[in-house]
Amino acid sequence: MAKVLVVTSGKGGVGKTTSTAALGAALAQTGQNVVVVDFDVGLRNLDLVMGAERRVVYDLINVVQGDAKLAQALIRDKRCDTLSLLPASQTRDKDNLTAEGVARVMDELRERFDWVICDSPAGIERGATLAMRHADVAVVVTNPEVSSVRDSDRIIGILDSKTERAERGERMEKHLLLTRYDAVRAERGDMLKVDDVLEILSIPLLGIIPESPDVLRASNLGAPVTLSDANSAPARAYMDAARRLKGESVAMSVPSEPKGFFGKLFGRRAA
């Protein structure tokens, strides 16, 4: 039986899709059978970040509505054969995503995979609550920035009230993934520190993803960052986060890009 994980945030543009792709690939790279599901109907992007945009034939709504079988809609990753994608529809009305249909698809996915990772749309509307509804674990993606932290606080409240687990009176496992972190700026006092964000949101830390050009490079190429530059700082941070999700204890380090003078000159080429 799979573990269902939702990657969520209140604010848009904080790195949910990038993190879904990277965590999904990282778990798959450790041999787990993983599916990443795009719940952002109308603005699908997970297929693009995963480099599968030309392979989409059927999507989540087709499966929810019974127009296609799950097996027809799943796209197996070409680089990692334990990684699959269930894409979102771009054109259809998002009201077609019914609660009953989603529940049925989630049940079917749970049987086939070890991990079902749902990429949530931003905000607190229906799409976001549908994406988190069946989750066992939530990864709250936050930037060290005031609006992102505030919206994350709101999302944490919703995770504690509007999910199946919450309704059964069970605790939802929640983790913080801090993205676009710049250790140098934080140290200088120009960016919220990890500890500040943790103190404010008070949920356990899953990982710190450094601000890095490797993330953009990976999405330009259509590859999860853990598959495209496995040795880069963000890839290593996502790999560690994935191991923590599996229950391993991995020491938390603040990863950073080479920042010294020579590092700046040569670090990029050497990496």
């Binding site: 005031v146 932290v149 505030r150 606080d153 006092g189 120009d190 919220l192 500040d196 404010i200």
Partner: protein, 94 residues
């Protein structure tokens, strides 16, 4: 960034301000959101009880909660229909 910035920066860093603003804001928002949930639950249940006996207009109800240091008060203000409606409602209840 120039050399001058290197020396002046430490005095007017912005992260502590961000941290303080967030702490104050979220303390308020959490209280407000938690409260509105409780208030709406109470509102629905109180209304359901009263509606069993009196025909009430759901729009003409005010529910307010005041949180004091020692005592918190819940104020429920329900406008009952004109007396003509009352006997009928009482009859219906029996």
């Amino acid at each position: 960034m120039n050399l001058f910035n290197l020396f002046t920066r430490r005095e007017n860093t912005s992260a502590p301000a961000a941290r303080e603003r967030l702490q104050v804001l979220l303390a308020h928002e959490r209280a407000a959101i938690g409260q509105s949930d409780l208030v709406s639950v109470l509102r629905e249940e109180i209304l359901a009880v009263i509606a069993k006996h009196v025909a009430i207009d759901r729009e003409k109800v005010k529910v307010k909660m005041d949180k004091g240091e020692q005592i918190s008060t819940l104020e429920v203000d329900i406008e009952l229909p004109a007396l003509v409606g009352m006997p009928a409602a009482r009859a219906a209840a029996h």
